[in-house]
Symmetry: C2
Subunit: 204 residues, 2 copies
Amino acid sequence: MEFPSELIEEAVREISKLPGIGKKTALRLALHLLKEKQATTEDLTEALLKLRKETQYCDTCHIISHTTDCTCRTINTDQSVICVVVDTPDMLAIRSTGQYKGTFHVLGGVISPIEGVGPEDLHIDSLIKRVQESAGEVQEVILALSATMEGDTTSFYISRKLEETGVKISTIARGIPIGGELEYADEVTLGRSIVTRTAYLSGE
Amino acid sequence: MEFPSELIEEAVREISKLPGIGKKTALRLALHLLKEKQATTEDLTEALLKLRKETQYCDTCHIISHTTDCTCRTINTDQSVICVVVDTPDMLAIRSTGQYKGTFHVLGGVISPIEGVGPEDLHIDSLIKRVQESAGEVQEVILALSATMEGDTTSFYISRKLEETGVKISTIARGIPIGGELEYADEVTLGRSIVTRTAYLSGE
């Protein structure tokens, strides 16, 4: 596509570097900013720059935080359990269920030989150290990774590493989603949901 | 959704003001920028600010241009015909077909009483003036607006205004898209394609 101005060409090139945004969407966004007040663009760019420059990560759990009081150190958080997640959105999703009050540990990715990501690129060593140094305060580690090949590999690797610490290791339940129809469930999930069946609680 | 940091909350709020981007996508984009090098964010924000601050519009045809040589004044452009479009993407789409070598005129919107857009908010007067002041050089005005109620209203209004100038007024052809199946065409389009049938050219 030939653009009427170098400015718009440059903006479209930069915007379309973002994941999931193609050239057409980038052009639409650029033209939208041109129609809005200058302050809209200024607020947006300032927020992005500030985010990139000032964001820090907690040394303990690797959650994003720009202050030194990370949620993993606050009193309301249950320090006896660590939920291991791949990245921030997973943590937010689990926290917003309201069913979990413990701490988190962000891995920053999954083991993927194809993409050249090994265990040393993830925050696994710091998880082991965290469990060891808690001197028994951490009683359970919940592995909350995706049920993909990479996720399962990573879960397996972490569980082997954690074995020597003697901490209880659990994983989030896999099964038929609530509201899901049995008929449309895939065989693997359905099979697993029978193997890992749980006691029936009335009112569930 | 509760965010782990005010910086990310602020960035998500600003990003999700863009059209078609919700909070989840905004969070994904913000986390992407955090993972990339700082230069990526700097290049993006610089391009956006530059676009918003330095973009100018041609006085004649209202196309975006940051220099004074707008395409409407270059020698290679056919000055005898003006194609009227709603906005820049429409112009780019027509230009990229390679079938049109004339000038453009960007209206900046369509007449829409519901949204409070009247003829005086669009670049209609400047179009009339442009045709009048060309002293016969402009021989044809092509109306290339969408076939919606607002587009048709705007086309009708412009055609009435242009009548007194004596310029030839045409509109882009409406009909069955090339590659389209008759069976699936809507009745209105099919009916119009019969009424406005054209001479058969072999090789078409």
